[in-house]
Amino acid sequence: MAAQVMGGPLVQVRDLVKTFAGRGTVLRKSKSQVQAVAGVSFDVLAGETLSIVGESGCGKSTTARCVTRILKPTSGSVVLFGTEISQSSQETIRPLRRQFQMVFQDPYASLNSTMTVEEIISEPLIVHGFPALEIKERVLAVVQQMHLHKSDLTRFPHQFSGGQRQRIGIARAVVMQPKFVVLDEPVSALDVSIQADIIQMLEGLQESLGLAFLMIAHDLSVVRHVSDRVAVMYLGKIVEIGTNKQIYEQSSHPYTQALLAAAPIPDPRVERARQRIILKGDVPSPANPPSGCRFRTRCFKVQDICSQVEPLLIDPGVGHQVACHFPEEINLITKRRV
């Protein structure tokens, strides 16, 4: 891990809320509002990887876009490197962007098809006014680091495979040598054989640049492999956050437990022996979330209190926070209550 000597965390997100207005008509403004992110708080420390997992539509990508200020949060605070940016203008944030970057999910859509690879990778440097000589040097260096060839620079994105394109996307994100990179499902659009490749490359970068990652993902095995800490989101809220070990071996929230139970384990004996939790129903609409605990409509432990009082994210142990009225640590593999 990098020798980052700093006081507080690199990234501090507090009570982040992002509301999307529903579609209104000409005569009447729409009253329906969708709270995609409904009060999310977390820190990212220097050099660590925090992963956010959850089903599609739970607000994890929206959270990522609010942190990088592609979207403007409705309320709450986002502090990057000690600067509050949640409501700042793009012009104010621009100089800070040297230090935080983003890698996108879709390696096809996230590269401009009318630009050459060289133009794509050097664009951040051009935007931030680096001298021409340094741009050339840095682009060449990062291209080598990403196992691309020098001759690739004059080619266009459509001439590459998905894995290569994602490497181009990563090169664009790290060419300015940032300290913090948001990875929005960086491997979920790729073949499994290429995923490992990309993950390794990201880990290498983390080591050499001392990067902190905020990774959005839904593949639990990938998350377990790369994360230091994991946050589980459900319907716009974090329901459980803790270290890798706390989440994977001592999960306390019924939703986390259900998620883990749904992920297959590549060992038939363990797979047969382990406890199964099958959730009923679908994720409720974020336009009309359930009262009290948002997970109560699908929870196997639901009781009266769950519909009346919203459970807060509380800390039962060291850094392990759970939002549930009846938290209970279960190691799903051994079925033992811890």
């Binding site: 876009r65 990088t68 592609i70 793009q90 944030i93 621009r94 962007r97 040297r98 970057q101 983003m102 996108f104 999910q105 879709d106 859509a109 996230s110 590269l111 401009n112 098809s113 009318t114 630009m115 664009e123 951040p124 935007v127 931030h128 459509h158 001439q159 996307g169 664009r172």
Partner: protein, 286 residues
């Protein structure tokens, strides 16, 4: 059609193979023909387009390929000279309309909000009238003449491009590569110039090519109705009016009619071919 859509082909190879299709080749030949006529007709044209060169209303013969009109002018020469009347104005209309429409459409689509609302309401108002009626009203108010015809057509034509470009910009600005540009800190101007417009411009080029013929037709329609070009000038539309007056001398109207037909058809085919070159996803052959 074989399905080698994803096969990367260079722009030139694609342009060449598309250009060899009979339809597109036809369009290309017609466009080139009129371009040559337009630039060189004064050198080799057999007669003067404005002077009587023979007896009135002679039927087509070897000396007068398309006969003569009611004033004894050579119809064939006048048809050739007609290209010099309509085509530069049509080109000017297309250029001005695409520039105005693209700028306003891009700004409206990218800025959104009240800017978008204002621009789009203006286009709504213009497009709410039948184009030919509005153009007639405008040129009637301004008085006849090709310059006023140009202004009238421009006014009814630019909203088409404004809408087209706005729609393109609206969809392109949602794409992930634009988010990526925001996240690296690109300015709004740079995003619009480098990440949105290069992709929005393709359909504009295709439409502009196809519309060229339409504008020629539109201008002739105005002249036919006595708005547009003034009498002595050899404009195709006004020549057809003369043909209508001398209905039994069919050659007077057929010449300019064929000229309009070939221009409209030719540029339509050319636009089709251009679309196939610029956007390999929609290969035009059935």
């Amino acid at each position: 059609m074989t399905s080698h859509v994803d096969q990367p082909q260079s722009f030139l190879i694609r342009a060449f193979s598309v250009g060899r299709r009979p339809q597109v080749a036809f369009g290309l030949v017609i466009a080139l023909f009129w371009l040559i006529v337009l630039t060189t007709v004064s050198i080799w044209a057999p007669y003067d387009p404005l002077e009587a060169v023979g007896t009135r209303l002679i039927a087509p013969s070897m000396t007068h390929l398309l006969g003569t009109d009611a004033l004894g002018r050579d119809v064939f020469t006048r048809v050739l000279y007609g290209a010099r009347e309509s085509m530069p104005i049509a080109a000017a209309v297309i250029v001005c309309a695409t520039v105005i429409g693209t700028l306003l459409g891009a700004v409206a689509g990218y800025a959104g909000g009240w800017v978008d609302a204002i621009v789009m309401r203006i286009t709504d108002v213009v497009m709410a009238f039948p184009a030919i009626l509005l153009a007639m009203a405008i040129s009637a108010a301004l008085g006849p003449g090709l310059r006023n015809g140009f202004i009238a057509i421009l006014i009814v034509w630019w909203p088409i491009y404004a809408r087209l470009v706005r729609g393109q910009v609206l969809s392109i600005k949602q794409r992930e590569h634009v988010e990526a540009a925001i996240s690296i800190g690109a300015t709004r101007r740079r995003i619009l110039q480098k990440h949105v417009m290069p992709m929005a411009i393709t359909p504009v080029l295709v439409n502009a090519t196809m519309d060229f013929g339409q504008v020629v037709l539109f201008l002739s329609s105005l002249s036919f109705l006595g708005l547009g070009a003034l009498p002595p000038s050899p404009e195709w539309g006004s020549m057809i009016t003369e043909g209508a007056k001398n209905f039994y001398q069919w050659w007077i109207a057929v010449g300019p009619g064929l000229a309009i037909l070939t221009v409209v058809l030719g540029f339509n085919f050319l636009g089709d071919g251009l679309r196939d070159v610029l956007d390999p996803r929609s290969k035009g052959d059935k």
